[in-house]
């Protein structure tokens, strides 16, 4: 798949936006402005960016506890995201949801999810809507390697396969599920081989290079849109940070993290090919970085000046009662 300059730069920008969002979330958490838990997507940006680049606003995604990246890649407003983390009325969920529940239904984001594997059947159901209504919309479910061992994964993939639903299952293998390394969670090192048992295509992709993700996702999404049914994509990545903010990471060595960070960084990788392939100059890319940093700061300022979450009203719990 040939990527044009605008797309290439946009992929870079989205990844950079995600990285910056996570960096600043981390500092805000450290300043005790964010409550609860946050899970950084740093290192995995190419997955959300590469997949969502093919999606329209009326396509759906389901996301995870590690959901900021998907949300940003699906074109969410950074200010509303920060406002949510800060417990503001102006947040996506009016301060009710926090990091683990940010949703933006206007852009088809059916929500982060605190239940590992919880979004998989929901995306399957969204794809069923497209099928029932005869539209060409697609649904993408993002989930982790850990979620691939939940029953919801199994039941959903089978349903999608037998009904040929327009859904793409994107398993983000970041090598760990909390403290459990994938090597201890699977007796195979080919998670994508599970697709065979459902009768759907399964494909692995190295998510260090966003171009590869973009290409693989493009094919799967085109197939789904054309009525060709679901695909399982397993994207290999590495989680740069702890599982959650504050994770002491007793389960992996500092050296391991350092090596992976140095060798597995989709943003460094993109900068390299953008310049070496002559898509953009270092200066142009620096310019993108600057713009992203500025919009991020502006978003934080906007979020911090929002009013705190208003009292709960019954209509939020029931549409009618």
């Amino acid at each position: 798949m040939i990527i044009d300059r605008a797309t290439a730069l946009d992929l870079y920008r989205v990844m950079r936006r995600i990285r910056r969002f996570e960096q600043r979330s981390t500092t805000l958490f450290g300043e005790n402005k964010i409550w609860g838990t946050i899970h950084s997507y740093a290192g995995e940006e190419a997955i959300a960016a590469g997949v969502c680049a093919h999606l329209r606003d009326d396509d759906w995604i389901t996301s995870t506890h590690r959901g900021h990246g998907h949300c940003i890649a699906k074109r969410a407003d950074l200010g509303k995201m920060y406002a949510e983390l800060l417990g503001r009325e102006t947040g996506y969920c009016r301060g009710r949801g926090g990091s683990m529940h940010i949703a933006d239904t206007s852009k088809g984001n059916l929500g982060a999810n605190g239940i590992v594997g919880g979004g998989i059947p929901i995306a399957t159901g969204a794809a069923l809507t497209a099928r029932q209504l005869g539209t060409d919309q697609v649904a993408v479910s993002f989930f982790g390697d850990g979620a691939a061992n939940e029953g919801t994964f199994h039941e959903s993939l089978n349903l999608a396969a037998i009904w040929k639903l327009p859904v793409i299952y994107v398993c983000e293998n970041n090598q760990y599920a909390e403290s459990l390394p994938v090597g201890k969670a699977f007796a195979t090192d080919d998670i994508a081989s599970r697709a065979v048992g459902y009768g759907m295509p399964g494909v692995n992709v190295d998510a260090r290079d966003v171009r590869l993700v973009y290409a693989v996702a493009g094919e799967a999404i085109a197939l789904a849109r054309a009525g060709g049914g679901p695909t399982l994509i397993v994207a290999e990545a590495y989680r740069h940070e702890g599982h959650y903010y504050g994770d002491p990471q007793h389960y992996r060595a500092k050296e391991e993290i350092e090596v992976w960070r140095a060798t597995f960084d989709p943003i460094i990788n993109a900068r390299a090919w953008l310049t070496s392939d002559g898509v953009a100059t270092e200066a142009e890319i620096d310019g993108v970085d600057r713009e992203v940093d500025e919009e991020t700061e502006a978003a934080i300022v906007w979020a911090e000046t929002g009013p705190i979450a208003s009292p709960i009203t019954p209509e939020e719990i029931y549409a009618s009662y």
């Binding site: 759906w60 389901t62 947040g91 996506y92 969920c93 009016r94 301060g95 009710r96 949801g97 529940h101 949703a103 933006d104 239904t105 206007s106 059916l110 929500g111 999810n113 605190g114 239940i115 919880g118 998989i120 059947p121 929901i122 995306a123 399957t124 159901g125 969204a126 794809a127 069923l128 809507t129 497209a130 099928r131 029932q132 209504l133 649904a139 029953g151 919801t152 199994h154 039941e155 959903s156 089978n158 349903l159 037998i162 209509e315 939020e316 719990i317 029931y318 549409a319 009618s320 009662y321």
Partner: protein, 338 residues
């Protein structure tokens, strides 16, 4: 949604004697004809017509896309229902037995019931989960439980349990039209009961109890199959000079507190009857509510008559003994007024 009970098609007020299962089918059929976004999903619902024949014939009328028979994948199909509801359909998902609802409860509770709130009001989840519970058919401990209390204890869910064919039709129609997730719990021994059912469109609003018998000596609050037992008991009690009022809750959530309290304030005595085991049952909620709100109006302690705290046994004579029977209601009612 019409605010009151209406029978709007054909001859106004016309009714037909129908089985409870037929009344449910009637509601499904009329709603599916009216609204193409309604989709029915479940196990064994197509050629077989459902374990209790509720969807019999609907495959021929609506085809396999809208009467969508599924593999045995409870959380998969309920979760697909949640996703479909979030994106514009109005799915009705059938869980064959409420005993299996545990397999899907995560999607019902953590997703369907909470999505609207968690998303700050962005979502509507017009999902109906139809299921059935109760004992009496020798299906033993994994096919006979009464688990409605679990679902009442979830903010964001509604819980409906019709006792009569007419209510079955009217409440299912209301549940399908409702924009919130509804647990719609039928009873396996009601499907073959018969009663007059309004023809055409018929809506019984959620959240309204029904006084199935007026009385002055005590209030029996109950739901589902025990309503029939309570009415039989009331007839026997009447012969012995005890005049029981029978309130059929119909909807457990929202709860019609006013109906309960005004009846108890009149009769000054409360008996709650349900088939589920007593400990942790919804009868505790009703008795506690009345004790809290109408303490001084009571002439006797509130009473609960409920299932024995045991898994449901297989053998018929044992099975009968673990849920309240007509004679038990008569006995306890007499104790209460005596």
């Amino acid at each position: 949604m019409p605010a009151t009970e209406t029978a709007s098609a054909g001859a106004p007020g016309a009714t037909t004697e129908r089985f409870y299962s037929e009344a449910l089918r009637d509601a499904l059929r009329l709603e599916m004809q009216r609204d193409p976004r309604i989709l029915v999903m479940g196990e064994d619902i197509a050629e077989h017509g459902g374990a209790f024949q509720v969807t019999a014939g609907l495959l021929a009328e609506f085809g396999p896309d809208r009467i969508r028979q599924t593999p045995i994948s409870e959380i998969g199909i309920v979760g697909a229902g949640v996703g479909a509801a979030l994106t514009g359909l109005r799915p009705v998902v059938e869980l064959m037995y409420i005993d299996f609802s545990g397999l899907a409860i995560d999607q019902i509770v953590n997703q369907a019931a909470q999505n609207r709130f968690m998303f700050g009001g962005q979502a509507r989840v017009p999902l109906v989960v139809r299921t059935q519970g109760g004992s009496g058919r020798g299906n033993a401990a994994q096919h006979s439980k009464s688990l409605e209390a679990w679902f009442t204890h979830v903010a964001g869910l509604k819980v409906v349990m019709p006792a009569t064919p007419a209510d079955a039709k009217g409440l299912l129609t209301a549940a399908i039209r409702d924009d919130d997730p509804v647990m719609f719990i039928e009873h396996k021994l009601l499907y073959r009961t018969k009663g007059p059912v309004p023809d055409g469109e018929y809506v019984v609003p959620l959240g309204k109890a029904d006084m199935k018998r007026e009385g002055s000596d005590l209030t029996i609050v109950t739901w589902s199959r025990e309503v029939l037992f309570a009415l039989e008991a009331a007839a026997k009690l009447a012969a012995e000079g005890v005049d029981a009022e029978v309130i059929d809750l119909r909807t457990l959530v929202p709860l019609d507190r006013a109906a309960i309290l005004s009846s108890v304030r009149k009769t000054r005595r409360l008996l709650v009857v349900h088939e589920a085991i007593k400990r942790g049952g919804y009868g505790g909620e009703i008795a506690a509510l009345v004790a809290e709100e109408a303490f001084d109006d009571l002439d006797a302690p509130p009473r609960r008559l409920a299932g024995v705290e045991t898994p449901i046994p297989y053998a018929a004579h044992l099975e009968r003994g673990v849920i309240p029977q007509v004679e038990d209601i008569v006995r306890v009612a007499k104790e209460l007024v005596g």
